[in-house]
Structures are given as structure tokens and as C-alpha cells.
Symmetry: C2
Subunit: 190 residues, 2 copies
């Protein structure tokens, strides 16, 4: 099961790395980071570069496509080779998936129907990938992967969604874009 | 608050990227990936490279040190510049932290006492980083970061620790090293 993870300038790292950590552990699986050009790609905060192992042309038919979100999605969905590649790859993919605002890129490519899995923001990509792993390889394998990455979340606060966070925290997030990653975090609370 | 995230050949990506995604969002914060030499560093499964922005020499005194785990820890703790750098950085750091088997590297550097925070495997680094963010910047900021990355975990299974996973899954993991990331996943169940 070959997963292609689309990178673009300004993506959010955890959107991509969470699902990679799950899907790369499927039996016989390979995860490949792809971008318009091979080489380092900068994340949203410019503090990190992740390497695209190959260009889009070099990986035309992955079985799973994963599109992370991040502020760079605005430019990514304005047009260009990534949208063309998504349309083409979606024709033969088993699953076409997104995390956070990556769904807007899928929408821009006209793909939001059929064999699509979209996840909420950032860390939710791990949950989505585990559910996908179960669909692909069975519950036992998915549980083994979950145990392997010790995904036993015990966050010190229960503030991960606008419905659960104290309303002053939601207001703080609205006022300070530094904390904002995905639009969904705000849209959910409005 | 400047966080240095130590990379070495064979680290586990999510160990590093989870805390990065939290700690880089602290007000005024900067996260820097460092390694013996600047440039791309391969993860445990060889499918991903993350760029070290600078060499250890270039970042001698970070306020937070974070050491990810991964199979490469065996070589990393055998000796070399990373251990020397850790000992030196620990003298002036506010926090010296690890995820998963990164704790074994801290131990090899002789640092497992004082201002140390260690986390269990892989995804637990997110929880540790949020707790650290709260200690550094207060509960409100930590909650805002949690909301910003929409860390509202809803794993499809409850199999993230050997105590919770079905025992046949624990046995499967013991038998198939492909799924094993950190030794802790197994040690906890024995």
C-alpha cells in the first residue's frame, strides 16, 4: 500500500507526519513525500523543512493520497501542478484523504466525492489514519499500529475543540492568529 | 523560548514533530532542529528526511532541549558529539526533555536528574509538550495551543498501551518488530 503525502510550501507538519507515522506501518506499506519538485519543503512557521523524496511526475498512481492542511493551502489551491496531479491520482487511488484545510485543496481540485476521507485539524490526522488502517488491513493491524506508536492520548487539558475549550480560550485564539492552524478550529465555534 | 530538537539518523518522526507543533506555538518561541551536521536527517523507516537547520555547535544554549526516540538511539547513545552537546546544553537549559527511547540518550549523557521531563512513546510527546507549555506560559496559553492544533484525540480503538490493548495484539506486536517503535511499548506489558 503506497501512500503519497503531498507537500507544499506552508503546510502544517503534524498534519502530514501523524498519518505518515500510522500508514507507513501498514504491512508492506511505503509512504512517499511528494511535491511539485523534489527537495526540502518549508512548513507554515518556516522553522522546519521536510524533504519531498520525489516530484509529482515520479509518483503518478499512489494507492493512498494524503493532503495536509496549513496556511499554504491558499496558494496550493489557487492552481498549479498539485491540483492536476490530485485529479489524475484520484482516478486510480484507493483512498484520497486530507487533514485540516487540506480538504480545501481537494475541493479546489473538484474531488470532494467518493472514496474520500477528510479529518479535522492537525492531530486528528492520526485518528483518521488509524481508521483508514483498520479499513485497509483490519482492526488487529490498526490496533497493533496504535500500540506501536503508543497512541494513548492523555492531554493535560480538555481544550481540543471549540465546544470543549473554555470560551475565553476560544476568544484568545480568535484574537491571536499565532495559535491558529486550521480555520476549522474557529469555524466550529462560531 | 528557544527549543532545540536533536535529530540523529534513525529517529522517529512523530517523537520530534508532535512536541515541535506544540512548543513552536509558545509566545515568542522558536524551535530549531539540530544535528551533528546541518542538513537532511533520515527517520527510522528511511522514508522521510527532516532538515537539521544548524549543527550542534551553532546552538550551544537552547532553553528547552528535546530528544526524540527511535531505533537510532542505540548508535546515538554509543558516544559522539550529541552526548557532549547534551551535557553542555543541559547546564544552561531550563528544561531538558525526551520522548520514548530518547530518555536512553539522556541517560547515556548522565543527565537523568533535575529539570528533566521524559515522555512515553511517540504520540505521548504531544501530551508532555502541552504540560510543559502550561508550566512555561500558563494554562491559558497551553489550552489555546491545544485548541489551535485541535488536539481532541478520538482514536478509533483503545489500544495505545499494553495494559489497554487486547493481549493478542500485544503478542502480535512482540512477534512483529515492524510495529515496534519504542521499547517502552513492550516493557510496560511485561
Amino acid at each position: 500500500m503506497n501512500t503519497a503525502i503531498l507537500l507544499y510550501d506552508g503546510f502544517t507538519a503534524l498534519d502530514a507526519i501523524g498519518p505518515y507515522e500510522v500508514l507507513s506501518r501498514l504491512p508492506g506499506a511505503r509512504a512517499t513525500f511528494v511535491a511539485a519538485e523534489a527537495g526540502p519543503v518549508r512548513t507554515d512557521n518556516r522553522m522546519l523543512s521536510v524533504s519531498a523524496e520525489c516530484s509529482l511526475d515520479e509518483l503518478p498512481a499512489p494507492e493512498i493520497v494524503l493532503v495536509p492542511g496549513g496556511p499554504g493551502e491558499v496558494a496550493a489551491r489557487a492552481g498549479g501542478p498539485a491540483l492536476d496531479w490530485l485529479r489524475s491520482a484520484h482516478e486510480t487511488s484507493t483512498w484520497t484523504t486530507s487533514v485540516c484545510t487540506g480538504s480545501l485543496i481537494l475541493a479546489a481540485a473538484g474531488l470532494l466525492d467518493g472514496k474520500i476521507a477528510t479529518a479535522a485539524g492537525v492531530s486528528a490526522g492520526i485518528d483518521m489514519a488509524l481508521a483508514l488502517a483498520a479499513r485497509i488491513a483490519g482492526d488487529d493491524v490498526a490496533q497493533a499500529i496504535q500500540l506501536g506508536i503508543e497512541y494513548d492520548p492523555q492531554p493535560p487539558f480538555d481544550a481540543g475543540s471549540p465546544q470543549k475549550a473554555p470560551q475565553e480560550i476560544v476568544a484568545m485564539l480568535r484574537a491571536n492568529s499565532r495559535f491558529v492552524v486550521g480555520e476549522e478550529a474557529l469555524a466550529g465555534g462560531s
